[in-house]
Symmetry: C2
Subunit: 98 residues, 2 copies
C-alpha cells in the first residue's frame, strides 16, 4: 500500500487494527499512547509524532519502506539524469501549501 498523506496512513492503520481484531484501547495500550491518540491518527491527524507512528506500525506487524521512484520506466529514465530530475521535483513542489 502506498502512503501519500496522513489520511492514507490513518486508513491503513485502522484497517490493519481491525484485521488483527484489536479495539482502539488494545492498540493504544500496546503502543503506549492514549485511545484519543489512536482516534486522531486514524482520522488522519497530520501533526502526529513520527516516533509514535512508527511504534504503532511495528505493533501492527507492518513494514514501512522507502523506495526511490526508479521503478517505472519513465521514472528510471528521468533519474538517469539527476539534474533533470531535480527540476521536475522542484516544479512539483512549487507552491505547496505552507
Amino acid at each position: 500500500m502506498l502512503l501519500r498523506t496522513p489520511t492514507d496512513l490513518g486508513s491503513a492503520i485502522r484497517d490493519r487494527r481491525r484485521r488483527l481484531n484489536l479495539d482502539q484501547e488494545d492498540l493504544a495500550n500496546q503502543v503506549g499512547v492514549s485511545r484519543k491518540w489512536i482516534i486522531d491518527v486514524e482520522k488522519g491527524k497530520p501533526r502526529a509524532e513520527i516516533g509514535l507512528i512508527l511504534r504503532t506500525i511495528e505493533v501492527l506487524g507492518v513494514r514501512l519502506s522507502l523506495d526511490t521512484n526508479e521503478m517505472t520506466p519513465e521514472e528510471t529514465a528521468t533519474l538517469a539524469v539527476p539534474v533533470a530530475d531535480i527540476d521536475r521535483i522542484i516544479e512539483r513542489a512549487r507552491d505547496k501549501p505552507a
Copy 2:
C-alpha cells in the same frame, strides 16, 4: 529501504537530499519548513510531525509504502490465527520505551 526508527528515516532523508544535490536550505524551502527542522529530522527527531515528513518525502521524489509482514512463511502461518498473532505482538511491544 526499510524504516524502523526515526533515525532510519533521518538517514534516508539526508542521503536522498545529498543525492539530489540539495542543501538543507533548498530542501527546507521546497518543503515549506525551517532549516532547523531539516537538521532535527535528519538527526532522527522522534517527535517530528508526520505531515511534514510526508511532504519532505514527496519533495525528495521518494515513495513510502506499507506492507503486511505476511510474506515470510512463519509470519503467514502466524497470521492465519489472528489471536496467536496478537499475543506475539503484545510480547514484542512489551517494555517499549515510553
